[in-house]
């Protein structure tokens, strides 16, 4: 058995073309990512223009529903430290659990995912999110990634998973 293992442990060397081909793919991904960030930046600047931002946001951009919390809870939520309350909602009657992950909570790593509560199949959670452009997704039953059906998809699936674009406006400006 030692002879077998010794033979199998000999190094296998790849030629240089392997790395060249791979880095072409990686650079292409990098360029796509930069391009996408540019698109999201444009979306933010458009959404922040007050004259037509609301109308555009309704149809094009994931809307941050600041008003929902005030109406539902009958209390005012004051933005602080650049954080804005965002209400995430997903209608999923058959789901057993729904969480929200995004770049604002490090994609749920280290148990940072937002846990939504169920109200007759309507899952929701409100959390403070920093003003800016974000990507996020719902995780249903701890395994199925779902993009927000009410929001535009983030261009490309950055991590091989569906995600949505989110623009959070700074209410203090």
């Amino acid at each position: 058995m030692e002879n077998i293992v010794e033979e199998l442990q000999r190094p296998v060397r790849l030629d240089d073309s392997f790395e060249r081909r791979l880095m072409v793919r990686v650079r292409r991904l990098h360029a796509e990512r930069r391009k996408r960030r540019g698109w999201l930046g444009a979306a933010m600047s458009i959404a922040q223009r007050p004259a037509w931002a609301t109308a555009l946001a309704a149809g094009l951009v994931a809307v941050v529903t600041f008003g929902v919390i005030r109406v539902r809870q009958g209390e005012h939520v004051v933005a602080a430290n650049g954080l804005e309350p965002v209400n995430f909602v997903l209608v999923a009657p058959a789901a057993k659990s729904v969480k929200v992950v995004g770049d604002f909570n490090n994609w749920g790593l280290n148990d940072s995912a937002l846990v939504a509560t169920n109200n007759q199949g309507v899952w929701s959670v409100t959390a403070p999110v920093k003003a800016g452009v974000h990507r996020y997704a719902f995780v249903v039953n701890d395994k199925q990634w779902v993009a927000d059906p009410r929001a535009p998809r983030s261009a490309g699936d950055d991590f091989g998973m569906p995600s949505s674009a989110l623009v959070v406006e700074d209410s203090t400006k």
Partner: protein, 186 residues
């Protein structure tokens, strides 16, 4: 100079640089792990072409999801897990090719100068015997003996229980002994 600095950087430092937009830092990670993990892929899939494809795919997936690498200092282990899964998918999708030559110029040069033909034949016999194992047994054997992982780590990578892995390794060893004995006695 830049290359030398990169080679001395830790995985965590390189990952951080990549996340900040430095693509060249990812090249350093590729250089660091490509040959090491090529060995596993070649032995697991049985031919260089499929192995290179699996490795390309694993590196690409790792790049795309790098921000989800929870322990950047253990990038290598994280990448290896992706590769093991990728090899499983590839192995399930393709029929292992009938001829499995792990042609490695470097290894051939290191082979016995007195009996290079015998060395090559022995290598091919081993590869052929490895190909006779089930994918599960081959995976467990390679992880245990060639990659020299502990059972706990193997379990973490494969999602298979320790006792089941021990059984697979034992059966793989038994089968290899029989197959290679048959070759020699034949």
């Amino acid at each position: 100079m830049l290359g030398l600095v990169s080679m001395e950087s830790s995985d965590a430092e390189l990952v951080q640089r990549v996340l900040q937009g430095d693509v060249n830092a990812y090249g350093s990670l590729v250089s660091r792990y490509r040959d090491r993990y090529a060995r596993y892929a070649v032995h697991m899939l049985g031919n260089r072409e499929d192995a290179e494809e699996a490795l390309q795919d694993a590196f690409t997936r790792a790049y795309r999801s790098l921000s989800r690498c929870e322990e950047p200092e253990r990038f290598g282990a994280w990448l290896f897990r992706i590769l093991v899964n990728r090899c499983r998918t590839s192995g399930a999708r393709r029929v292992r090719r009938s001829q499995t030559f792990v042609h490695d110029e470097g290894a051939l040069l290191n082979a016995s100068q007195e009996h290079p033909a015998e060395q090559t034949a022995w290598r091919e016999e081993i590869e052929r015997a490895l190909g006779e194992l089930s994918a599960d047994q081959r995976e467990a054997f390679l992880l245990k003996y060639v990659e020299e992982l502990g059972y706990e780590e193997m379990s973490e990578i494969t999602g298979v229980g320790v006792s089941a892995l021990k059984m697979r390794v034992m059966r793989a060893c038994d089968r290899l002994r029989i197959l290679l004995k048959e070759v020699h006695s034949g």
